[in-house]
Point group: C2
Chain length 333, copies 2
């Protein structure tokens, strides 16, 4: 069983300072004698040494941990984001601590407080509403970088996808392929700027290819991330009110899933003449026979940018460009 610095010092009959210098490889710098060094080294090799990070954290007032509050992991985009963040952290000797908020503002608040009390050195947060974001942003005793969502608060550090641009790309591509079809848009989580931007981008892309999307063809209802079954119902409503659409855009993958689920449950399969478009990418979209266009967010870039930002904030380098925006790209099949 591995020993602490003090125990090793006792065994070697030297002081803790000497042990620490050897263990931290500063024996050259402080000219520890070779005899002492090798005695200590021998004992470390024999018994092992486990540093007690907790004690070190307390003394240094930093923990080399970063917190991440994210809605869910079952959602591919978020799990990719976490994976990418975790790699960035590990490469810089940070440890990422992740908690899921299920887009519940109360839970989110509890989780961020908990992480701050655990003395994380910084915090990544995918906020679920304006108030939480505002509050956390003004709570300036821990560096915070907001991911994926910015509720329009001035001066906060955030890294988000350029949803308007992604929407525009999708709008253009759909517009070109409509060939007389009538397009419907199904969305959830409509209070998020993310979703509003996606829809606005889509509209302008469609407009630029000569298709004017009627407001009544846009259905924004309920939750997706926290409750994707809601999307099944919305699709059911759409189909019974307006018939099965021949062209459909969904605001995110859970919405897409809900829609397809409904169609399969009703018709045994996805009617093969529907033109489909969705935000978020997934390898499985390749396996659907219909034409599916999708907008791929760049989780890797978002993570990297966010990580650089938080490092700067931790090291007190002022960052003058707090709100970064990452482009996404269109995948045409």
């Amino acid at each position: 069983m591995a020993k602490s610095i003090f125990e090793i010092a006792q065994l070697a009959e030297v002081s803790v300072t000497t042990v620490r210098l050897v263990i931290n490889g500063q024996d050259q710098k402080y000219r520890i004698s070779e005899k002492t060094r090798s005695k200590i080294q021998g004992i470390v090799d024999e018994h092992g040494y486990y540093i007690n990070q907790t004690a070190r954290n307390l003394k240094l007032r930093k923990t080399l941990t970063l917190g991440l509050v994210i809605p869910r992991l079952g959602n591919l985009f978020f799990s990719q984001l976490m994976e990418a963040l975790e790699v960035n952290c590990r490469n810089s000797d940070y440890q990422l601590i992740t908690a899921c908020s299920y887009d519940d503002p109360v839970l989110e608040q509890k989780l961020t407080e908990n992480l701050i009390q655990r003395e994380v050195d910084g915090l990544f947060v995918v906020s679920s509403d304006y108030d939480n974001q505002k509050k956390l942003a003004s709570n300036n005793h821990k560096p915070v970088v907001f991911l994926d969502r910015n509720f329009g608060i001035d001066g906060i550090s955030s890294v988000t996808t350029d949803n308007t641009q992604g929407g525009y790309l999708l709008g253009c591509a759909m517009g070109e392929r409509l060939q007389g079809r009538e397009l419907f848009v199904l969305a959830a989580d409509g209070w998020l700027p993310t979703i509003q931007n996606r829809i606005n981008g889509l509209k302008s892309g469609l407009a630029d290819t000569g298709y004017s999307l009627p407001e009544e063809n846009i259905l924004v209802k309920g939750l997706a991330i926290a409750d994707w079954e809601n999307c099944i119902k919305t699709m059911e409503e759409l189909c019974s009110d307006r018939g099965v659409p021949t062209a459909l855009v969904t605001s995110a993958l859970p919405v897409f899933e809900g829609c397809m689920e409904y169609l399969v449950s009703q018709y045994g399969s996805i009617p093969d003449d529907i033109l489909l478009g969705t935000y978020d990418e997934h390898a499985f979209l390749n396996f659907i026979p219909n034409q599916v266009l999708s907008v791929c967010q760049n989780a890797g870039d978002i993570a990297e940018t966010a990580f650089e930002m938080i490092l700067k904030k931790i090291n007190k380098e002022e960052c003058e460009e707090p709100a970064k925006i990452v482009k996404s790209n269109l995948i045409v099949r």
Copy 2:
């Protein structure tokens, strides 16, 4: 900005003990006078109090954190597992700390050591090989529960899926639907007992429905979780050596993805007469026109069982049934 116990004590002109008793709600028990109590409460309400968990952790020699080392999060099963564990932890005031090993034994070892040095109270590990599992299991100064994989080491605490049973179910169902087709099996990560059990279960299920699977129809090659593109190549080999199969079982979702990817790249879509079967479930399997059978692992049950086990170990209650096995179920479409 929130204050520490000491700072509050100074402001209230009382001792830290008194403050702590009020903050921890033990003021009744120790009969703190109402005057003192309300003075302290007032200061807490005004300035706020943030407990420094790091200091508490050091003193109490426990951190209320649990570590999780998992191959990847992009894999749905693992992200579901993490999500479920995180909920269990949160409900018992633990914080889960997750790190990804990408099934690299060296990285895995580094991550587990790192987590132990951070003084997690217990550790969940999806081990990537026998040696790591063996070593960690005998390293008995932290409670460890192994998830999803048990390399056949006696007496370790593990919670795994009953892969043989799941394989058997799939084997029976496939066998009944073959109708003269020749079945091929594609697998990766073949060194895992998980995979071996799945294949053995499958074989016996097929045998029980009168189909004897020839060994040369089973291709086990390379990695899936860490490198799913490898699966595309394996499928390419299979197709060029033996033709496009009319019945195919894959050992996990990444393998399935690779196979479908290859077929789509070659033929524009998945040939519609292939009967498909795979381990692991995903909502998107519903949207593939072919008949797809899948085996659904129960991430929620695994997490719950594992969490109960680690709590017992932390509280030193001997658990006499260390290796738990969770059934999976077949999804027929």
